[in-house]
């Protein structure tokens, strides 16, 4: 039962990603060409409501499901890793039209070719692990 809630949340996420068309290569191209508000509306709404939710969780000291305090981890303060890593990620995102979640949702949707993208992303993750100490962070 402990596992089930994560599977169900995942199913919900998969449906949301597909029904919002955020898993669409076309929609990602439309976003990077600034030709529709659709993707900006999705991300914008999620961030505004997410910010409100995080604020309220902190303010009201809401506890999690196990009764433990909810702590938000701050990201390490630096800039090279975020800008350079982000730029490399963006190149791949616009080319494949898929970030890590949508890659997997697309496979479930029946786009088998996304398996190639997932294999590439695993290779990319492995290469990062291999050379991370030589990269500016």
């Amino acid at each position: 039962m402990k596992s089930l809630k994560f599977i169900v949340t995942g199913i919900l996420f998969g449906i949301i990603m597909a029904k919002s068309e955020a898993i669409s290569w076309y929609r990602i191209q439309e976003m990077f060409r600034f030709q529709s508000f659709h993707m900006f509306g999705i991300i914008g709404t999620a961030v505004i409501l997410g910010t409100l939710a995080v604020y309220l969780i902190k303010k009201l000291k809401i506890r999690d499901y196990h009764g433990n305090p909810i702590v938000f981890q701050d990201k390490d303060k630096s800039w090279p890793r975020y800008l350079i890593g982000g730029l490399i990620f963006g190149l791949g995102w616009a080319l494949t039209g898929a970030c890590p979640g949508p890659m997997f949702v697309n496979i479930g949707y029946g786009y088998w070719a996304m398996i190639i993208v997932v294999l590439g992303s695993l290779a990319g993750t492995y290469i990062y692990g291999l050379i991370k100490d030589r990269l500016p962070h």
Binding site: G14, G44, T51, G92, M114, Y128, K132
Partner: protein, 187 residues
Amino acid sequence: MLELIKQPWPWYTSGAMIAFTMVLLIYFGKSFGVSSNLRTLCTIAGAGAKVKFFDFDWKTQKWNLLFLMGSVFGGLLASTILKSDQPLQLSEATVQDLRSLGITFDGELNPSDIFGPDFALSVKGFMILLIGGLFVGFGARYAGGCTSGHAISGLSNLQLPSLLAVIGFFAGGLLMTYLLLPLIFKI
């Protein structure tokens, strides 16, 4: 109800539901970030024996793998019992721009010109998808997160590093869209 869910969702419903997913995972004592699973999958495949970065107890991430498995199943549901019969409403300007790249808009989620077997299994198509994926995987780990971890979770927690990452995502996306895609698809 089912009919309502089957329609393509408007952006505000979609955005609200993504925020809800994040809150649900926070309530379960976890955090919303999909790309960590790629590291976990490398660890399960045995990468920890050679590379220290992958040497961690992957069982602590089991919940996230279950979430990922669920999302694959969610995709399956969306393409079967929840499938909409309307074509995607892509902007006409995008349709035109893509046509000039030789990519036809077919009304589906993803172009068969790229994800159909003829292209995806050609040497060029396979390399495009593989290298594209490689950039996503490498970049996500280097930046310490992807769209879910930085753009949604990080920005919601007002993290400046996440804003830098999102700026990076867009810089890379624009570079690919305007400079590289014409080179890649026209040769």
